[in-house]
């Protein structure tokens, strides 16, 4: 039990998480290079093969399942590079991870963001 384990909906990128996601995150890192972005777009599946991702991680990349990517060790600054390629916003990704449309997420932010009340601890209401 870590002191942050009871924070809901939050995947702290600690050592355990980082070990799990190393290959996945380093694939994302490769997208910092234009040439690699082009190769990835040409054939996503082939680009991912041989990079050491687990089948589940590969599936989540292809599906653009950002919450699943977090659960499989992804770090948001790394996985967001995939969203950048798709020209998706952080509001789109934030909405997808929290089960909201991009528009609803934007509206929530415009109204002051997600309330901290009720979101500090699991089971809190």
């Amino acid at each position: 039990m870590k002191d942050y384990s009871d924070i809901p909906g939050t995947y702290v990128f600690d050592g355990e998480h980082s070990r799990k996601g190393y290959r996945l995150n380093m694939f994302c890192m490769s997208l910092n290079e234009e040439a690699n972005r082009e190769l990835f777009i040409q054939d996503e599946s082939a680009y991912l093969d041989g990079r050491g991702l687990t089948p589940a991680q590969k599936r989540a990349v292809l599906d653009r399942d950002y919450l699943e990517l977090l659960k499989l060790g992804g770090n948001i600054y790394y996985t967001f590079k995939i969203a950048m390629l798709d020209r998706k916003s952080m509001q789109y990704v934030g909405g997808q991870m929290s089960g909201m449309t991009e528009e609803a997420f934007k509206e929530m932010m415009a109204n002051g963001g997600r309330a901290i009340e009720g979101n500090r601890r699991v089971g809190e209401s």
Partner: protein
């Protein structure tokens, strides 16, 4: 003798830079944020520092998971804007101050801050957005820059107290540099925000306001805050605020707040700006 004349705390949200790069600062969404930057930019025009020491974090741009320095200092002549996944920002090349940077690197290490020394460092939005916020869109940045990069991506970042102490050491070492320079120190990142998970979008305005207040009046108290409190109260990415404590540590015991601006939202973030002068 070099001297620190001010500290600036500011968010470094990439969307703020993108709004400027794409000419959107007068839009309904962005105008309130940028209007609040006006007085800080005016203050900066009058202050005209020779050097800015910018305490920031890299976001999977220059550093990846291959190696993760807790504290790094850029000693190069120049620093190129990084390609973060959508091409580099079209902003001026950042010009360093290698003599002062090496003076800092050597003396920080001798004062038991074991810096990683970086000669080749592309700088991402964490560093260039604060420059844009304070200097707008010049053809060349009007001062030299020393990047001090702090790991806040891989948990755990250095503690708030360690950052504050780093700032104190920076101040002593700047004061021992034998050239007449004025220096401002930036602490960047924050304020409350969480980009990831089902709790994405969390904002805590009372936390942020309290942080801005105590940055002036009770920085030592703030250094006692454990990481879990930042994550719980200010969101997983709100922990970037430890970098503001490094800035505060560089200003000495007492400061006066020259200016403050706070606005929600900038993208998924609460944007804060504070300008502090040592007294």
């Amino acid at each position: 003798m070099a001297r620190i004349v001010a500290g600036i705390g500011t968010s470094h949200v990439p969307a703020i830079g993108a709004a400027m790069d794409n000419g959107l600062t007068d839009s309904d969404y962005w105008a309130p944020l940028f209007k609040g930057y006006g007085p800080a930019r005016e203050w900066m025009r009058k202050t005209q520092p020779d050097v800015a020491i910018i305490i920031y974090n890299d976001h999977a741009s220059a550093f990846s998971l291959e190696f993760i320095p807790t504290f790094a200092i850029g000693v190069a002549d120049t620093f190129q804007p990084a390609d973060e996944g959508y091409g580099p920002r079209d902003v001026p090349v950042v010009v360093g101050h290698p003599a002062l940077a090496w003076h800092l690197a050597e003396n920080l290490i001798l004062n038991e801050f074991d810096m990683t020394i970086v000669n080749n460092l592309a700088v991402d939005h964490g560093l260039t957005v604060p420059l844009s916020i304070m200097f707008d869109q010049p053809d060349v940045w009007p001062c030299r820059v020393i990047p001090v990069c702090v790991n806040v991506i891989q948990y755990p970042p250095p503690t708030g107290k360690r950052c504050y102490d780093l700032g104190r050491a920076i101040a002593r070492i700047v004061a021992s540099f034998d050239e007449d320079l004025t220096v401002v120190v930036f602490g960047t990142g924050g304020m409350s925000h969480q980009l990831q998970g089902e709790r994405a979008g969390v904002i805590n305005q009372p936390f942020d306001i309290d942080f801005l207040d105590r940055l002036v009046s009770d920085p030592i108290g703030l250094t006692e805050r454990p990481h879990v409190d930042y994550i719980r109260e200010a969101g997983s990415e709100g922990i970037e605020l430890v970098m503001w404590l490094a800035m505060r540590g560089a200003l000495g015991e007492s400061v006066r707040q020259v200016y403050r601006h706070y606005h929600v939202p900038a993208s998924n973030t609460a944007a804060g700006l504070t300008v502090l002068e040592p007294v």
